[in-house]
């Protein structure tokens, strides 16, 4: 009962039928023998739903792999003063620029101090020739050895091909051919309320299952669908399946803030995210070619004394915003057509955009409002902030909004 679609499935259905005949015969015997039937099941919707889940699980197990890693370290306690190691963004980059004077001014918020385990994790076969797509969560420890255990039992060494730090995906490659690949749910067929079955191999053994519904379709600036299936390190990197045995997306931890571990605090809480197939396909070719995606930065700090609206405090030199002609003291009033009224909205407008993307920034200088196009940069491309000393002002408002304020008041 793998899928009930297509003409080739008649035999499966027939088999089922005969199996149900056997059951029927047994029940009939029981009826005769005991004189009364034992009500041993729920109603048909409940039984039918379980059959749908079972189909989805069986289907998912065909292309869901177990990833094992060896080596790597626990990220250091995430305190600003301790963030002195080199930026992990730089690793594996041939064209990495020379270190900045103070490279730690613009850093991703590393997220919670969640203790990373070193158990197995989950991935999905993306192509028959051995590309495996998974969650970057599984590689935050920077392991030295990665192996992939295919559904057929083969365990193969894998190489990390590329990473998407924005959508938090990692592409692996193993040396194999003719691998089974999933069917992805078309974008227009993903709708809130439909079943969502998360499958993961993070506890070893058989794949583990959690069932929920699709909670929303356009989360994380359109980069994720949301589910109330219980997502956790058990199934990060694994598929979120629909009831027709297709993949809705890849489970990843996410929150409306940067950082590879951001979103892990929602584990098992009914708040989960998956990058949908259509989004994966958009970037798959680039990833296969080894192109990494990094978060894009404007390169500014905001003026903490301004309560209403967002005023540029300082800008890095060089920085995309400075190059676009912005000045310290300008108000940012909109990004990509979305009004910006406070710091949280600025973060929300930018946190899922990769470096290289062009954003339209509306600025207000005095009475003049004008728009500039800014090409977002990687943090490593940003210079230092102009060294203006802020007098200590205990009454200055703290930055509020969806994210905690980064150490340097930087916001994107």
């Amino acid at each position: 009962m793998i899928t009930r679609r297509g003409v080739g499935q008649l035999s499966v259905a027939l088999w089922q039928f005969f199996r149900s005949l056997t059951v029927a015969a047994l029940i009939a015997l029981l009826l005769v023998g005991a004189g009364r039937a034992v009500a041993d099941s729920g109603d048909e919707v409940s039984r039918g739903s379980v059959a749908l889940f079972t189909d989805a699980i069986v289907e998912a197990e065909k292309f869901t792999v177990r990833i094992e890693t060896v080596g790597g370290v626990q990220p250091l306690e995430q305190l600003p003063g301790l963030r002195m190691q080199s930026d992990p963004d730089d690793e594996g980059e041939d064209d990495a620029p020379a270190p900045q004077q103070n490279p730690n001014q613009f850093r991703d918020d590393p997220g919670s101090s969640f203790l990373l385990a070193d158990g197995p994790t989950t991935g999905i076969i993306y192509s028959a020739d051995g590309y495996i797509i998974t969650s970057s969560f599984n590689f935050v420890r920077e392991p030295s050895v990665v192996t992939v255990r295919l559904p057929d039992g083969r365990q193969l060494p894998a190489t990390i091909v590329a990473r998407d730090k924005v959508r938090k995906l990692t592409l692996l490659k193993v040396d194999a051919e003719n691998l089974p690949t999933p069917t992805w749910t078309p974008r227009e067929q993903i709708r809130p309320g439909q079943w969502a079955v998360a499958v993961g191999r993070g506890l070893g053994g058989d794949a583990d299952v959690s069932v929920g519904v699709v909670s929303a379709v356009g989360r994380m600036l359109g980069n994720a669908i949301q589910t109330d299936a219980k997502l956790s390190p058990v199934n990060y990197g694994g598929p979120l399946m629909d009831s027709a045995g297709r993949v809705l997306g890849i489970c990843v931890p996410m929150a409306q803030k940067p950082g590879e571990l951001a979103g892990i605090e929602f584990y098992d809480a009914g708040i989960g995210f998956a990058v949908p197939g259509w989004r994966v396909h958009e970037i798959a070719e680039a990833l296969c070619e080894g192109k990494n995606f990094y978060r894009g930065w404007l390169g500014l700090s905001i003026d903490p004394h301004v309560k209403h609206g967002v005023r540029i405090g300082q800008m890095a030199d060089p920085s995309p915003l400075r190059s676009a002609g912005a000045q310290s003291g300008d108000m940012i009033t909109a990004i990509n057509g979305k009004d910006i009224k406070h710091y949280g909205q600025l973060v929300q407008a930018l946190y899922m955009l990769p470096a290289g993307d062009v954003v339209h920034v509306k600025l207000l200088r005095g009475a003049d409002e004008f728009e500039v196009d800014v090409t977002l940069a990687r943090n490593t491309e940003l210079g230092v902030l102009s060294p203006v000393e802020e007098p200590f002002d205990p009454t200055a408002p703290a930055n509020e909004g969806a994210v905690p304020p980064p150490a340097d008041g930087e916001s994107d």
């Binding site: 679609r5 109603d43 094992e68 158990g119 709708r191 219980k230």
Partner: protein, 801 residues
């Protein structure tokens, strides 16, 4: 799919007549039914989602959720969502069309954590229908919509689904002055998180049955752990007229304290003289039988129902005097002043809007009929004057200017007692208007359909009131019935589950009393639970579903299994001959992806005589437990059932896990953290482990331990590279010549990445795996040698001294 199904039915007719009678129950029909149910749910959500609002303050900060309940943009949310907006009375609401609408705060009910708002700048708003929360049953599937963690950048709500875990729940006051009381509320396992506050809880028909406002939180912080609480929509209905008029609404008190009597009754213990209870003749020692026309079985039930009622609200009370006489009476609750709330100024324009809303409905309802039949007074002249006035108001010429002279009194209702029959009207809107210079008239009108229920004429000079009941032709069409519940047999199973699961209250753990759950496994009162400190001492008690209490007598406990068997001992004669119990010889089958129900008492939500909480999930899979509890290794390393219902909450451990047919499949385990993922696991000990433990503990020969460990160390001949015990990969530093490892082909510098099917990320991992082996076992190593993976089998030997 169609084709194949038809083919089957044809075949069935042709080949095997016996199968025809079973055609309804073929899996294909089930699957089709399931697919139809899924489509219906998607369609329902599509229909109601536009009515759900993401609420922000004027600066687009903060937030919560609300639900629009009529086309004019009126909606409800939690008081605590709008509490910070009371200054300006303004906010913003984002709808799923992606637009922000101005929001105006109307009336508030701080005691019930409810507020009403109105959205502006649109002609007709999408809205959700209100359901009947009295029809909600434990096990019903429910859907919550809201904006948890303010994730909705496009203002589309987040959908989460679950079941009703409990009804008539009581949650103590919280917030400023402990005002936010959740009385008689709905408990659900649908994920409710910060930001969901004020959002609707729907039944599968898309009707609002409650407003989500509170969650239980665990040590993980403010995220959902499977217990959310919704204020019932029927409670909110009682406040709605006042909320619509922008009033500060109050809750009511009876100025009486009741307590549970030893014999199961509820007795008045203290009364305030001149309070509502005193004034209808109740005296200390009298028994409370019914309140608000509901049977009262516990003091909690009375407190809980009372907590849902507005102040100055008519209620019926049935009580029994000490001499045995039963008395029925109607009185009004006394309004409780709202503590620490600044004077709330009703706004004239809101009052006028509320009056107009009700009067327009009244005009519509009486378009063709102005012949009101008034009962209650024979004063023909007065009747005539009232009729004339009503006809004026019902006339379409009665315009907004004239309405300006009327006042909205808020919510009220009519309760009448006729012999044994108590009749309670729906919540009504009270409108006050002058009849002439000396008299005022109060109209009680159903604001939903415009029906007039009662007219009260008060004479300002003589201070007398004349009450007219208005006869209405019953327009109450048969109420729309709900669709069949998604899981028809659930209530019966839940009842069986609740009867066989006990609530444990035990020894003091730290400063608080420990609590937990247990399952009954024999008719003579044997009970299994997890082994924990709460069982220590003599104070531990087990409470059955009906509230009867038992002392506990230890039978046996097993540290390795973390299980304990105890016997329930009656403290006084309960009259019970046999206990309901789970038959451990008839446990349910275990299949991945199948529905399961977990029953227990997480967070001690259920009082002694209240039903346990129930959560639904699917069986995630089977795994060997490798976990820690605090910093200690968790001794149980056997197989466990993984669940996607959240059971890792205080008090849930020891609870029952049953399958769809109500058969026991496991017992909820203690809270542990997985070594593999560093997350808190939701799991159950399989029923067969519980069964073996019980049969061993009750067998005559209990002296032999249940498990024996070999204890003999094994020899493999590998020396590992030992730098970095927990963090570094495991390299082979040396292999002893002629050793089992050498014979298996292990070489120096091999990187060991797996053993016996388990990953080996560090030395600690492989040492644990080897420690579990005994001489003669085979150790299957997976090693990496120059980017090639090799599998090697080592025949382990006994270590020679």
């Amino acid at each position: 799919m169609r084709i194949s199904k038809q083919a089957i039915i044809l075949l069935a007719t042709w080949l095997a007549p016996v199968a025809i009678t079973l055609a309804d129950t073929t899996p294909l029909d089930d699957i089709e039914a399931a697919e139809r149910a899924e489509s219906a749910r998607i369609a329902m959500i599509e229909r109601v989602a536009p009515a759900v609002a993401a609420i922000f303050d004027e600066n687009e900060r903060g937030g919560g959720t609300g639900v629009i309940i009529d086309a004019n943009g009126y909606g409800i949310t939690n008081f605590h969502v709008v509490a910070d907006m009371l200054g300006s009375g303004r906010g913003l609401a984002g709808l799923s069309d992606g637009k922000l609408y101005p929001l105006e705060v109307l009336g508030i009910d701080p005691g019930g954590d409810v507020a009403m708002f109105r959205l502006l700048d649109r002609d007709a708003f999408p809205f959700a229908r209100l359901g009947d929360s009295n029809a909600v049953r434990v096990g019903d599937t429910v859907v919550a919509l809201g904006n948890p963690f303010l994730l909705a950048e496009d203002y589309t709500p987040t959908v989460t689904m679950g079941i009703v875990s409990g009804i008539n729940r009581y949650q103590w006051g919280a917030g400023q002055g402990d005002t936010l009381l959740y009385s008689d509320c709905i408990q659900t396992d649908a994920a409710i998180n910060p930001g969901n506050s004020g959002g609707p809880l729907f039944n599968l028909d898309g009707e609002v049955i409650g407003i989500n406002g509170r969650i239980s939180v665990s040590m993980r912080g403010r995220v959902n752990v499977g217990l959310g609480y919704a204020i019932t929509i029927n409670q909110i209905r009682m406040f709605m007229p006042g909320l619509r008029a922008g009033l500060l609404t109050t809750h009511g008190t009876m100025q009486a304290v009741v307590r549970d009597n030893f014999d199961g009754g509820v007795v008045f213990s203290e009364l305030m003289e001149d309070g509502p209870a005193w004034n209808i003749g109740i005296r200390p020692g009298d028994r409370l039988l019914r309140f608000d026309d509901r049977e009262i079985r516990s003091a909690n039930a009375f407190t809980s129902i009372l907590g849902t009622l507005p102040g100055d609200w008519p209620v019926s009370v049935t009580y029994q005097q000490v001499d045995g006489t039963a008395v029925r009476a109607v009185t009004r609750t006394e309004a409780i002043p709202v503590p620490q709330m600044e004077a709330y100024e009703p706004r004239r324009v809101l009052n006028l809007d509320a009056v107009e809303y009700v009067i327009r409905k009244f005009q519509d309802a009486t378009k063709d009929n102005h012949n009101w039949a008034l009962h209650g007074s024979d004063d023909e002249a007065l009747q005539q004057r009232v009729r004339t006035r009503l006809a004026e108001i019902a006339s379409p010429d009665f315009d907004r200017g004239a309405m300006d002279k009327l006042a909205h009194l808020g919510a009220d209702r009519v309760v009448t007692i006729d012999g044994d029959t108590v009749t309670t009207s729906k919540p009504l809107a009270g409108i006050a208007c002058p009849l002439d210079n000396e008299m005022n008239v109060r109209l009680l009108i159903d604001e939903n359909n415009g029906e007039l229920h009662r007219v009260v004429v008060s004479d300002r000079i003589t201070q007398t009131e004349t009450i007219f009941d208005v006869e209405n032709p019953s327009t109450d069409a048969a109420q729309e019935r709900r669709n069949a519940p998604e899981w028809a047999s659930l209530p019966a199973n839940i009842n069986a589950l609740a009867e066989r699961t006990v609530k444990l209250v035990g020894a003091k753990v730290g400063r608080s009393v420990g609590y937990g759950s247990g399952i009954l496994v024999s008719s003579d009162g044997l009970m299994v639970t997890v082994d924990s400190a709460l069982l220590d001492g003599r104070r531990a008690r087990a409470y059955l579903n009906d509230g009867t209490a038992y002392a506990l007598e230890p039978v046996q406990s097993d540290r390795d299994l973390q299980l304990a068997l105890l016997k329930l001992v009656p403290e006084n004669d309960t009259g019970r001959k046999a206990f309901p119990y789970f038959d451990l010889q008839q446990t349910g089958e275990i299949k991945r992806g199948q529905w399961v129900l977990a029953g227990g008492n997480p967070f001690k939500v259920a009082g002694a005589n209240e039903p346990i909480s129930v959560a639904r999930g699917v069986l995630g899979g089977l795994t060997r437990l490798d976990a820690t509890r605090g910093t200690q290794d968790f001794p149980y390393h056997g197989e466990v059932l993984l669940l996607d219902a959240i059971t890792s909450t205080p008090g849930f451990a020891g609870g029952a896990l049953v399958n769809e047919s109500g058969r026991l499949v496991g017992m909820v385990g203690r809270m542990v953290e997985s070594r593999t993922t560093h997350t808190v696991l939701n799991y159950a000990i399989p029923a067969n482990v519980v069964r073996d433990f019980v049969s061993h503990a009750t067998s005559p020969d209990t002296s032999t331990p249940a498990t024996t460990a070999s204890g003999k160390p094994v020899y493999h001949g590998i020396k590992f590279f030992e730098l970095g015990y927990q963090s570094n990969p495991v390299y082979v530093e040396r292999v002893r010549r002629g050793s089992p490892a050498a014979r298996a082909g292990v070489r120096r510098d091999d990187l060991i990445i797996g053993a016996n099917g388990m990953p080996v990320p560090n030395l600690e991992a492989i040492e644990r795996i080897i420690a579990a082996c005994k001489p003669g076992d085979t150790l299957e190593l997976t090693v990496m040698r120059k980017d090639v993976i090799h599998k090697l089998s080592i025949a382990l030997e006994e270590e020679s001294p």
